[in-house]
């Protein structure tokens, strides 16, 4: 079970967490992650995020379902902003629910690593020196590769 939403409008992470948490009597652990646009000391004026409606949600839902299966999650939620996003605003919210905390932590961590390195978004950073397109960092690729190594060891 998982849910994926893309939206141009800002979202309230606290309200999403309350909705995700309410009524879960079998889940002992809920982990959430919020990714925020950093202002990098004022040099970034906005991020612009381009998605391919239909295609992007399907790809993310595939990652979420993989996280649910791999970490025995009871549920996973991904909410992602698209369009223009200002510094200090949340860009992504991920929540996972599981019986125990290790699964909930690893499920959210895994999902974020895959979102950051493989999700079909195209991201433009509007900076003082002009706009530039962003690709995943070397660290994003390394983070995602951790899970392949872990899988082999299990």
């Amino acid at each position: 079970m998982s849910e994926v939403r893309l939206q141009d409008a800002p979202f309230d992470p606290g309200a999403l967490l309350t909705g995700f948490t309410t009524g879960r009597r079998a889940s002992g652990a809920i982990v959430s992650f919020i990714g925020m646009v950093r202002d990098e000391g004022g040099s970034v004026s906005a991020l612009e995020l381009d998605a391919y409606p239909g295609f992007t949600e399907t790809a993310i839902a595939g990652m979420a379902d993989e996280a649910v299966g791999r970490f025995s999650l009871h549920d996973a939620l991904v909410v992602h902003r698209t369009g223009l996003i200002q510094p200090g605003e949340p860009i992504v919210f991920v929540a996972t629910a599981a019986a125990h905390r290790r699964e909930a932590f690893e499920g959210a961590d895994f999902l974020m690593d895959f979102l950051k390195s493989r999700a079909p978004f195209w991201k433009k950073s509007h900076e003082a020196g002009g706009p530039r397109w962003i690709e995943p960092s070397a660290r994003d690729y390394e983070d995602a590769a951790r899970w392949d190594a872990l899988k082999d060891n299990r």
Binding site: Y52, F55, I60, A119, P120, F121, W122, K123
Partner: protein, 80 residues
Amino acid sequence: MRVLLFGPLRDIAGWRERSFDPPLLTLSALRARLTSEDEALGEALRAPAVQAAVDKVVVRGDCALAPGAEIAFLPPMSGG
């Protein structure tokens, strides 16, 4: 037939979406058509990291296109 461009391809071409009527019959014919109209776009589309999706499914190599197909060109993804 609709063609969609994403990310930096939009900046290179100066458009996000176009209709082609009459439609092209194959992906290679569509690539040739786009290249003949805009050499810079054609070159960008030939980069190995640029993927093509037909009706939201990534395809490799050439393929036949239905008249109502939606073809998207996807440069390397930025991630979320």
